[in-house]
């Protein structure tokens, strides 16, 4: 069987995603976990580009690899957690974790025997990932959630400051 370039790229990216994802879970050292997670994120960004979601891929790299993972690294460094001090996981909880992982087997089966119900209804349009299209949708249909997400950010900001600052003045 001869694979097209797209298929080869898909398989390579998927392999990177899954292997580095597994390494995130099984690394003993949190710093390695962060680095493998960044690799996973880049692989996912590759998938986005394959799927013609170019703007999303850029935002994904900037937000996840650029901001969130730096935050993680910062906390790990600040708390000096880069040693493997974690105790062994108890046997029963390993067992529970495997059971939980197996719960997704039905999902996989369900995904694989998808019927033809989800045929593509609309003609393929390669422009949907462009900034122009996304901006138009975001600021018309999704304007209400866009505005309300500001409440979310405000409360996250207030909350992070509240929890993070040293308690000096409060009396209760």
């Amino acid at each position: 069987m001869n694979l097209t370039l797209t298929e080869i790229l898909f398989f390579v990216l998927s392999a990177i995603t899954i292997i580095s994802g597994a390494l995130v879970i099984f690394s003993r050292n949190p710093v390695y976990s962060v680095l493998y997670l960044i690799v996973t994120f880049f692989a996912i960004a590759g998938h986005y580009i394959l799927l013609n979601a170019q703007f999303l891929a850029a935002v994904h790299v900037i937000v996840y690899a650029g901001a969130i993972m730096v935050l993680f690294l910062f906390v790990i460094m600040m708390l000096n957690l880069n040693e493997t001090t974690e105790p062994k996981t108890a046997l029963w909880s390993k067992f529970a974790a495997v059971i939980a992982g197996l719960t997704f087997l039905p999902l996989l089966v369900g995904a694989l025997k998808t019927s033809e119900a989800v045929v593509m209804t609309q003609p393929q349009n390669s422009d949907i990932g462009l900034v122009k299209t996304l901006g138009q949708v975001l600021f018309t249909d999704y304007l209400v959630p866009f505005e309300l997400s500001s409440v979310l950010f405000l409360s996250a900001m207030v909350g992070a400051v509240l929890l993070g600052k040293k308690s000096t003045e409060e009396t209760n």
Partner: protein
């Protein structure tokens, strides 16, 4: 030319289900709080991947906008989660979730 015309949607769904399952497994398996947070990030990314695949499949930009919201919420969640973690570390000197058994079921 989008990959969705060549690669069946089932493959993307399988990939994101595997990623989601690994994240869920990590949340239960690991005892280090900071790695729990990373596993939750991984689960959210699995969702994002499936949404982008479906978006290309349906030719609908709505799902990609939804992914923006997920990213925004993930960032907010991480900020609060790490603040809780730091608070916990100040009081206990560890990020091991095993210390959190003061109250019994």
């Amino acid at each position: 030319m989008s990959a969705i015309q060549i690669i069946p949607i089932e493959w993307y769904l399988t990939l994101s289900a595997i990623l989601f399952g690994m994240g869920a497994l990590g949340v239960m398996y690991r005892k280090n709080a900071i790695i729990l947070l990373m596993c939750i990030e991984m689960m959210l990314n699995a969702v994002n991947l499936s949404l982008v695949a479906f978006s290309a499949h349906h030719s609908d930009p709505g799902a990609q906008v939804f992914v923006f919201f997920i990213m925004a919420v993930a960032a907010a969640e991480v900020a609060v989660g790490l603040a809780i973690l730091i608070m916990l570390y100040r009081n206990t000197g560890t990020t091991d979730v095993e210390v959190l058994n003061r109250m019994k079921w």
